[in-house]
Amino acid sequence: MACIEARGLRKAFGATVALDGIDLRVEEGRILGIVGPNGAGKTTALNAILGLTSYQGELRVLGRDPWNERDRLMCDVSFIADVAVLPRWARVSQLLDYISGVHPRFDRAKAESFLGRTSIHRASKVQELSKGMVAQLHLAIVMAIDARLLVLDEPTLGLDILFRKQFYDSLLNDYFDRSRTILVATHQVEEVEHVLTDLMFIDRGKIVFQSSMDEVESRYVEVMVRPEQIAAARALKPMYERQGIGGSVLLFDGADRKQLAAMGDVRAPSISDLFIAVIGNHAQAQGATR
C-alpha cells in the first residue's frame, strides 16, 4: 500500500493558488525530500497530508482522510511542523507524562534514553531550554513514537550546524528503518542530500521534478567544460549553464557520459544545482507562456 496517495490536490487562499492540482504517490520505506522556493506550496502540501488544512481533490494518508480523521491518523503519523512549537510553559517531565497518557505508540523509556544523551533536565521548562535543546527534545519525542510516517517541515531552521548534523544523524541511525516513511521539506538541501531516497521539487503549487535519488545520480551529470569545447557541449543541449570559477558548468539530462568526459571534468550535480536548473527552466517556461 502507498503511504501517501494524492490526486488533483488543490488549495487556494483567496486568489493565491498554493497547490495547483498535485498528483503524488509515496511508497512505504522512502525518505522523500521536498524542495521548493519560498511560497511554492511545500508547507501547504505537508499541512494537507497532516490534516492541518482543508483541500480539494483526493488524498489518502495510510489509507485515511487526513482532514476528517486527523486524531486517528496521528496514532501512526508524527510530525515536526516547525522549530520551537513545544509549549513553553511545560516541563520536560510533564510533556513526557502527557504524551505517554495520550499516545498508544509512545515508548517513554526510549524517549528517556534519547534525552539521556543530551543535557536536558526533566525538571526544566521548555522556555528555559536553548533553541537547539528544544529541537533535541522534540526529536527525542518524535523518535520514541513508533510511527509509520514522519513529516518534517524545516525541522532545523535557525539551528547551528552542529545541531543540524546531529539531528539528521540520529534520525538515520536511531529511527529510520525500511518500514517507515519520512517526508522532509527544507531549504538546507545540502544537509539532507545524502539522507534522501527520493527527491521532489515544487514550484508555484506544482510538482516540477520528481525522481528517486538513484535515478538522479544515473541521469544527471554536470560537466566543467573546457573553453575550446564549449560550442560542442552546447550542441548537446544542456539543461542549464552557469559560470563556475574555472569556466562554464553545463548540466545535462541523460547525455552520454563518455562523450562529455572528453569535454571536461564530469561530476554528479548537487541537489541545489539541479534545483536551480529545474526551477530556472520552469520559471522561463512560465514566462514564455504568459
Binding site: 497532516l50 486524531d71 512549537v85 509549549p87 497518557g101 509512545f106 515508548d107 517513554r108 523509556a109
Partner: protein, 308 residues
C-alpha cells in the same frame, strides 16, 4: 536518585517484553491535566484570595468577643446576619475570583495555543479537537466551581475554628456561633448557587468566550464583549427597546422568571418547587442548547485554525 535507579531496570524490562505498548490512552484526562499545568491561576487565584480573606479575618479577631457580646443583645434575625456576615463575605470574594478567572481562562483557552504556535505540537498527537474543547470547557463548568466551593468551605471552617478558639479563650460560649452557622446548609447553598447560576445559566457565556478564543486572531476580549454591547446599543437606537440587554442581565443574575419568588436568585434548594421550576424552565434549556452550539462551533473552528 534512588527512584530513578530503581525505575530504570523496570523500564528496560517492560520495553523488552512489550515494546511500544503503554497503558490505554486517556486523552480527556490528560488534556485536563494539561490545562491545570498550563493555567495555574485556576487554583492559585482562589487560594490567594482565600489567604487574603483569612488574613483580614485574623486581623479583626480581637474585636470578635465584643461583637459577640453586642450580638447577643440583638434580635435573632439581626444576630444571625451579624454572625454570618464575615462568612458570606469570604464566600462572595472567592466567588468573584472564580468569575474573573473563568472569564480570562475562557478567552485565552483556544487562543493561547495558537499564539505560541504550540497548536502545531498538540495537533501532532492523537487527541481530537472535540476532546480538547470539551476538556477546556470542563474547567469553567466543573473544575473551577468545585474547587471554588471546596476553598470556600475550608476557608469558612478555618474562620469558625479560629473564631471559636478566640471566644473560648475569652471565656465566652461558642454555642450561639455554631447554632447560627449551619455549615452543611451553607455549603449546600453555595454548591447549588454556583452550579445553577454560575454554571448552568451562565454556560452560554463561557461557551461564547471559548468560541471567540478559537475564532479571533487577536483581541479576544474585545471580540467577546463588543458584539453583545453593540447589539444592545443598536436595539436601543433602532427600536428604543432593551430586550437583548435585559435578557443578558437576566441570565447573568440568575433567570428571575424561572424561580418561584421573583427577584431572588436560585439560592435555596431546600424547597423542591424551586429546583423543579429551575430545571423545567425553557430558558435554561434554550441556554444549554446555545451552549452546545457554541462549543460545537469551537470544535469546528479549531480544526481550521493554525498558529497566528
Amino acid at each position: 536518585m534512588n527512584i530513578q535507579l530503581n525505575a530504570a531496570p523496570e523500564a528496560v524490562e517492560s520495553s523488552a517484553v512489550a515494546p511500544s505498548v503503554s497503558a490505554a490512552p486517556l486523552p480527556f484526562y490528560w488534556s485536563l491535566r494539561r490545562e491545570l499545568w498550563e493555567n495555574r491561576s485556576i487554583y492559585l487565584a482562589p487560594l490567594a484570595v482565600a489567604g487574603v480573606v483569612l488574613f483580614g479575618f485574623f486581623a479583626t479577631l480581637r474585636h470578635l468577643p465584643a461583637t459577640m457580646r453586642a450580638a447577643s443583645a440583638l434580635d435573632p434575625m439581626r444576630r444571625h446576619e451579624l454572625i454570618e456576615q464575615p462568612f458570606d463575605m469570604a464566600a462572595g470574594l472567592i466567588m468573584v475570583t472564580f468569575l474573573i478567572v473563568a472569564v480570562f481562562y475562557c478567552l485565552d483557552a483556544l487562543h493561547g495555543e495558537r499564539r505560541d504556535r504550540s497548536i502545531l505540537f498538540w495537533k501532532s498527537l492523537p487527541v481530537s479537537d472535540l476532546t480538547v474543547v470539551l476538556s477546556k470547557a470542563t474547567i469553567p463548568f466543573l473544575i473551577l466551581p468545585l474547587f471554588t466551593v471546596a476553598v470556600t468551605v475550608v476557608t469558612q471552617l478555618i474562620m469558625a475554628a479560629f473564631g471559636s478558639a478566640v471566644l473560648i479563650a475569652n471565656g465566652q460560649g461558642i454555642a450561639t456561633t455554631w447554632s447560627e452557622l449551619s455549615f452543611f446548609r451553607m455549603s449546600l447553598l453555595l454548591l447549588y448557587h454556583i452550579f445553577t447560576v454560575h454554571v448552568l445559566l451562565e454556560a452560554p457565556m463561557y461557551a461564547w468566550m471559548l468560541m471567540v478564543s478559537s475564532w479571533a486572531r487577536r483581541a479576544t476580549f474585545i471580540w467577546a464583549f463588543v458584539p453583545p454591547f453593540a447589539i444592545c446599543v443598536l436595539e436601543k437606537m433602532l427600536f428604543n427597546t432593551s430586550h437583548f440587554a435585559l435578557m443578558l442581565l437576566d441570565r447573568l443574575t440568575g433567570g428571575m422568571e424561572a424561580l418561584s419568588a421573583p427577584g431572588t436568585m436560585p439560592m435555596d434548594p431546600t424547597t423542591e418547587t424551586t429546583v423543579a421550576k429551575f430545571l423545567t424552565s425553557p430558558s435554561l434549556w434554550i441556554g444549554l442548547a446555545i451552549t452546545a452550539a457554541f462549543l460545537f462551533a469551537a470544535v469546528r473552528l479549531r480544526r481550521y485554525r493554525g498558529p497566528i
